[in-house]
Amino acid sequence: MTEAKSGEVAMMDIDVEVLDNRPVGKDLYSLRLLAPQIAKTGRAGQFLNLACSQGSAPLLRRPFSLHLLDPAEGTVSLLYKVVGEGTKLLTELRPGEHTRALGPLGRGFPVTGLADRGGPLATGGTAILVAGGVGLAPMAQLAVDLRQFQAGTTTVLLVGARTSADLPDLDLFRRCGVAHIAVATEDGTAGTEGFVTDILTAALEGRLEGWPTVSPAVAFVCGPRPMLAAVQRLARSHGVEGYLSLEAEMACGIGACLGCVVETISGYRRVCKDGPVFGLSEVIFGGSRR
């Protein structure tokens, strides 16, 4: 094993035991794995590549954000949505069963040392976590890391979903250190009726009831690409900087195959290795078919 560049801890491919795998919303599952090495070294925004089947169908592993790490217990929790064959098979894993996980992978949210580099969090600003759907996954560990490494920062969470059934219990995020949570659903069954960008606009303009002022702020965003693009535009018009985490279909997951690239202001970059977290203004959306 060699130490990866920029102080990242080396990834490893390990056998993991399933401790718990249960539904927490509509087509939404929480999977807890015994994976002490990853629990110890993983950071918010990083991911692991998990084998969903024993055979060759589906062929590829699936990438999942680290949802919540417990280094003391040696456990890694994932929050995943059933979207296809791989995640469907994943729901069938029972406690005591084993699979393979490669991780921790990618560059996570740059939480440690963020204040040292200046910017809003150096002066007691607000960390605004913005999640769309299962883009909630990395936000729990991110809140934990912010609490640990950015004392003095207030963390707030804005969540968008289609309907209330798509949301897990958000109390978890409060326990992770989130001070305020606002929800938007497209059908109005929870929180405000509308999109997450609607409540983000309200928060940035100080119009969100019961909320403190959130400026100066750094945004941490994860969700589907149209939502990321919308948040990017909104952040730009409000002069807010931050980071976003991308989802992509991946093959190797470690930067070798160049299959998961995304267009950025500095050319094609690998989501798995150069990301999945990029600067909020770095990614160019709309340049390709998806």
Binding site: D13, L59, E263
Partner: protein, 317 residues
Amino acid sequence: MRLDTATNIGGIALKNPVLVASGTFGFGREYSELFDLDLLGGVIVKGTTYEARQGNPPPRIVETPSGLLNAIGLQNPGVKAVVEEELPFLGQFDTAVIVNVSGHSSDEYLRVVAYLTEANERSGLRLLDGLEVNISCPNVDEGGIAFGTDPEIAYGLARRLRDVTDLPLIFKLTPNVTRVVEIASACQQGGADALSLINTLTGMVIDIDTQQPYLGNTIGGLSGPAVRPVALKMVWDVAAACDLPIIGMGGISTASDAVQFLLAGASAVAVGTALFRDPLAAVRVREGIEQYCLERGIASLRDLVGAANPGISVPEE
């Protein structure tokens, strides 16, 4: 019993018969964080062109039944950067280094091969052990027909490259042809030292939501277990018709897959797409081949090569 796993591919000595296939392993850096590359017989690096290439627009990959369709588009940093930054890294390991050469014109292949040959001579060290020439690329001088689909064009390319290098030349054949044996023979006549087969099968996927082709490049190349029987049959046919040593590849995921290719007549095998499912797949394939031999009292890997194929006489060492 001591098992002899050494093999030779057109002048490239391999300590064991398991390589990793071009395009699935980058230049080895990422996988070297997961296992010791000394365990491999060799590394075939990412397709290298003369100038840097940014590759195709995403999406570049899509999973298919037991397979993977890709259209990366030869993204690579160009031969100069490969020589200066990538090959010295691989030189640390006790494994054969084979550079995959790609181009869109005969001249481009020539320039890459000449550059690599000269760099290797100049280095005074072993910078690379051989060249794998990807002839599945479209030839812009011939209206976009792939070099590897026309025996005369393949022969002409082999002749030109043979004139500028003494490095072992492996021609990687495309399966997207009617008679692969004719292409193999043409490469041999042109001066190739060995063959790799197969490259990916062309294919596509259409997204029924957007009603558009899924891949940014519209078409891609299919790899993975889905193509394995096709690859095996092509190795079988070419081994029977042509004397050149063969690196068999196409969907090899396990030792039993690999042994089939050896029995069909391949002298070595390459593991590719299987690495995406199991990053240590090549190491496991190697161990499994050794176990297979030991369990059956096979003393030398060479005794396996072509053993199932009545069409070939195994070349004497």
